[in-house]
Amino acid sequence: MDGAAADGFDPASGPHQPVFVIEGVSKLYRTGEVEVRALNGVDAVLYEGELTVLLGPSGSGKSTLLNILGGLDKPSEGTVRFRGRELSAFSERQLTLYRRDHVGFVFQFYNLIPSLTALENVALVTEIARRPMKPEEALERVGLAPRMDHFPAQLSGGEQQRVAIARAIAKRPEVLLCDEPTGALDSQTGIRVLEALSAINAELATATAIITHNAAIQAIAHRVFTFADGRISEMRENESRVSPSEISW
């Protein structure tokens, strides 16, 4: 598996630096007497410009890993390095700047601010980002421009999810972490969203990780990680990637 990580990314598309180096990462959750091992010794490397799809049964630890990569949580054991700097050693302030400047996150539960409109939810991020696109543009990319003045409660689940995606791509992030971005979408809208994500991935060489339960989506990835019981049980490279427009479900 280590070997796969080292040379796993298609060198043909240019010289690519590792963005994340994950070594022996475990995560324990303790609630009262119950102890849950959400991650159990994960090793992996994610590269610049690479699009990774994470698959695996519910509860296998996908979201947990993504949260750790996004600086939203800390591993109980092991290390994660972001461009050579150890993430788990970051101070609170460094973590804040890391999240602000480098990471675009699409949360599994869309997590919009209910009292802000779609546009304002996106603006929330562009206002503090370094080189953002205009919030309108980000919404345009996910096909939501006509609904930008609506509040989350006035949007469908899928629309809310697209706002969340627009919010993630609006800052032109170096790292794009998406937790089930298409979970609530029909195939047509889902494909549109995936196109937006892969466009950012291609334009900015963003290291992109997408969690999904939809096996069809793995076709657009450079690599596919499969999770089971807190580990990466399988890591597969796609011989031939297809563009999002070519898949359907």
Binding site: T31, G32, N67, G70, L72, D73, K74, E92, R93, T96, L97, R99, R100, D101, V103, F105, F107, F109, N111, L112, I113, P114, S115, L116, E120, N121, A123, L124, V125, E127, I128, A129, P152, A153, G157, Q160, R167
Partner: protein, 787 residues
Amino acid sequence: MTALDRKVLRDLGRLWAQALAVALVLASGVATLVLAMGAYRSLDETREAYYERYRFGHVFAHATRAPDSLIVRIAAIEGVAAVEGRVVESVLLDVPGLEAPATAIAVSLPDHGEPSVNRLYLRTGRLPEPGRPDEVAVNENFATENRLSPGSAISALMDGVKRTLTITGTVLSPEYVYALGPGSLVPDNRHFGILFMSRRALGSVFDMEGAFDDLSLRLLRGADEQSVIAALDLLLAPYGGTGAYGRKDQLSHAFLDGELTQLLAMARIIPPIFLLVSAYLINMILSRLIALEREQVGLLKALGYSGLQIGVHYLKLVVVIACVGVVVGFAAGTWLGAGLTRLYGEFYSFPFLIFQWSVGTYLAAGAVGIAAAVVGALRAVHGAVALPPAIAMRPPAPPVFHHISFDVFGRLGLFSQLTVMALRHLWRWPLRAALSALGTSLAVSLLVVALFSFDSVEFMVDMLFFQSDRQDATISFAHARPPAVREAVLQLPGVMAAEPFQAVPVLLRHGHRERRLAITGKPMATDLSRVLDLDLQPVVLPETGLVLSERVAAILDVQRGDLVEVELLEGHRRSVRVPVAEVIQSYLGLMVFMNLEALWKLTGEGPRVSGMHVAIDEAKLSALYAAVKETPVVGSVALLDATRLKFRETIEQNMLVMTTVYVVLSVIIAFGVVYNSARIQLSERARELAGLRVLGFTRWEVSRVLLVELAIVTVLAQPLGWALGYGFAYAVIAGFESDLYRVPFVVERDTFAVASLVVMAAATASALLVRRRVDTLDLIRVLKTRD
């Protein structure tokens, strides 16, 4: 405007009802402080200015008859700025339309120019012309109460001669802000007045031509009052001087001062309680409100906002709320304070009012309010920021419920599953339930504080007038009489019983402590006017020695058995050492009693009485009044019935305003707190409740879960509220104690009941409002997002 600032506005819009309720809670706290301090400062300032502009005297003295030539020598005393020698005599009046006799003090006005001390403010008409014995100006209150105006005529018994006087004008005097008749505890402006007459006219009536019997003087700035008094006493001694005294012992000033001190005590105790309680409450409410935002804090953090930025964001929200509260509090407090000042100003008949607002009070009240809000918000934000965003963004983990005994009830079918759910929820978050209960109980306690003073006053009125002073009237003689006068008094129509008393002005001294007081001599056991201890038991005066009230004992630092030096201020002016026979606890402050016969021995002037307490047959009241109006020996008559009414009226009128303000503010606080608790509970549980609705429970069933919780918390809060209220009330009473009296500490059960009823009404209203929200709960919306 940034998206976050927009969120502040939207959140305010969304939470407006709650925000307003919180703001009003704070406003009430701020308003109490501002109004009480404002009214006190304004009245204090007004009094000061009044005294200065109308040259209120600093030192006062009486003599039997001193030649006018003495004035020059008095003016030469070092430190004296101005002297006014006057004729001041007591007269009995027959006022048209007033059946009972009225008493008045006639004060002379100089025949040329204005008095150099104690100037008059002319309200209507003009001053009497020099030398006109039939013209008088009267104090405004007396005129108003008796519907007298310039041109009205009254008849007076002056030095045994009946005269008809014409009123030329109504006036105000700094010397009689508080016009207290002899033997009265409260001003009775209907039966007691002040007449101002030409010096020449009054002098000839009382045989005081070229002489004076009363003196007022003003001191130079920085002059030593004590040495002036000593020098003055020396000069007046040969002319029957009874000892000069300063403002501290001037009746009107002492009472006014006592009232202002009490107002200050009130301002220092009740408003801070209100302010601190409201500060605590908004701290608690805002902290709970922000705690609800945990997920959003997590999200903002996940999006790259720093803890500081998030903190500032929520601070903006609460500071806006707090500022609204503070500003409303300032406005309401200023307005109420001005109203109160006007009311008191009218009561004291100040000729003008000066409104004085202390910037410090505003700053302090504003700072406390805003700080409380800020601390509350930061506490909650800190709690959420400290969590890793991944955790904060999840809805709080479903709690681990323990199987507790409620389940047994559930299984037994005693309570429905829904009730068990409510109980279990309370049990699961005991701290949260306890805080809600504490908030509600503080509201109860404020009401107790606001309401209880009525109980104490009722008790006091009963104690003073129905237990202690049971006479129907007190007749004071113009000059002390031999005890045989009792027979004559008993001969008056309608008089059924008469008890003599003698009041002897003295200077009590112990070590270097001294105090000017009057010893009241009474027969050993009395039935009408009784001396009572704190248990309302009559005190039997020992055969010899002084009986001091606790307050006097404290002032002189004496105990039972100690010797006190008694300097007589009238007659022989000798000093005698008298043992303290007893120190009694009493509700009245500066009291010194002595057995009448022992007092006669002490004065060495033989048996004398100053007056009689009498019981009257009401049927013969008119005949008695008519007789008294014709009886030259009677100096004044104080009617207890009138006093009783007046006392209650005065105190209750003053208190009613204050109390109404405090009650209204406590009701606002109670409603604000309970409403917010209920709303927050609803927010905390909206998802769960919406879930129940989706499962098919009816609106009523769902809101019952919430209402049961609310009801339990409200009921639990009551006893705690009573206990807190009792404690606060005790602190208030302790602050009220003055030289004049100790306010009994009485809290009736009714007060607790009313406080509880008000809060429960507030809770019911809140419950109904919140229930409406449950009814209109937008299920989809709640399950999708969070309100």
